[in-house]
């Protein structure tokens, strides 16, 4: 399975001003208590699937997400809460990539093989994601929060074996 076809490529870097409203409209609800990074991932994943013309991600597809910085804001806030002796459960949850994967799956009304992995060489991360994937293919995303003047980014590819 060495040849792949890109059926959709969605990029928001930065996302439009009304992206949160757009996400709520697309999934029929406003995400609650999920954190900015997860919300960005949900937005990009849903937009990419919509661009591919797929109402739902096939059950046999994989989701793979990479990020250099992850849930930076929630992690920083969680550490500050720890310093103050007041760790908050939702802040901790928002700092975890696993929670992002869960929410992305939930907003696509999908459950299956989802993972968070990264490598300094981003091409290797994508290559790894493709290995062993089923014929339903792959939804691959790179999601970064805003930091040090760099705008937030949510970029996704829907890939299927040719």
């Amino acid at each position: 399975m060495s040849t792949w076809h890109t059926t959709a490529h969605f990029i928001a870097h930065p996302p439009p001003v009304d992206w949160r409203d757009d996400l709520a409209r697309r999934i029929g609800r406003r995400p609650r208590r999920v954190g900015l990074w997860t919300e960005l991932a949900m937005y990009g994943a849903r937009c990419c699937l919509d661009a591919a013309g797929e109402a739902a991600l096939p059950a046999g597809a994989r989701i793979r997400v990479a990020s250099q910085r992850g849930a930076w804001g929630a992690t920083h806030a969680g550490l500050t809460q720890l310093d103050a002796g007041l760790p908050m459960p939702f802040t901790f949850m928002q700092s975890q990539p696993a929670l992002m994967l869960a929410e992305v799956g939930r907003c696509l009304e999908w459950w299956g093989d989802a993972s968070f992995a990264l490598c300094r060489d981003a091409a290797r991360t994508l290559q790894l994601a493709k290995l062993g994937a089923a014929r339903d293919g792959l939804l691959f995303g790179i999601v970064e929060e805003e930091r040090h003047g760099e705008p937030p980014r949510t970029e996704w590819w829907r890939l299927v074996p040719a």
């Binding site: 550490l79 949850m93 975890q96 696993a98 994967l101 459950w111 989802a114 993972s115 992995a117």
Partner: protein
Amino acid sequence: MNDVYLAGMGLACVLGDDMPSVLASLRHGGVPPTPVAVADGISWPVYALASREGDWTQRLCSTVRSVVAQTDKTGDLGPRTAPLFVASSSLDIGFMEYEKQDLRLGGDLQDFAGVVARALDWQGPVFTVSTACTSALNAVLAAADLIRSREADEALVIGVEMDNRFTVAGFGAMQLLAPDSAQPFGAQRKGLVLGEAVAALRLTSQPARWQITGGANVVDGRNPSGTEASAVLAMCRGALTQSGLQPGDIDLIKVQAAGSPVNDAIEVEALKQVFDPLPPLVSLKSAIGHTLGAAGAAELALLVGCIEGGVWPSVDYPLDASLGIALSKEAPQKLRNILLNVVGFGGGHASLVLKDAGP
């Protein structure tokens, strides 16, 4: 397509810094957890690694070097150009706790794997896998994909959970922790007890005694802090299918069983729907705690160590009779195919089938 084998393993956990000391501790009844203070007046028990010299990073590096050295009996890891997978839930958050606030999180999520790779003078590609409790099993599945597809002949998977208050405080805030000890499937179970561990698995395409025949990863976000029965069914069936096995072919299940009042019961009910009758069950978390992102590697290494070393974990508390299960008191006499299950935070469910390919 290549087959995937376990060429070597290493483990440091509460029981000891290498497999002989781990098995010796297990034989003598184990090591209790120690309290970790996360805030004024709040502490939780943790199955902690033995203390080492140095700061957080120095302790990480020396532990990793020691554990990886165990994966080869000659101590020679070769050219160190294979893919390296570093699996962790907490990554370097323990290091961040010692940093000044404005210096924290100055780098990125790959920094931790970079430190591990430098500690080993690793020259090959380095991947981070972070999916909470299923991190190490997902790393094994990814490494197996590389070897099966002939993209690599070998890969090294390292599961790492080092000391940090952030994770303990976070799980405490979510009310998931037990105040005393881990009692998987116990009548008085009150939640999970976290553990620290570093475990290394050296995977290869060259035939060895233990073969990884298949596995599956299922994320079900409907209950982010709990076990979903349908996902347990899917992960077990997925792992069996990839391995070309039927439920009756499984001789032992290493259960998730973290000691959660609800999740342990859901896991048992789901397993009963796949396996009728249930094969013997073994639980390892009462011995080493829930080692989160390292759990898949640490529990696989410990289980293989127990089988090869003739030691078996025992529990010193009454099991929940309403579950209708027992934990095996010794290794089953017929032991060909083993299913290892890990379920985690974020709705992650992962299974691996390990086959004794020996004569």
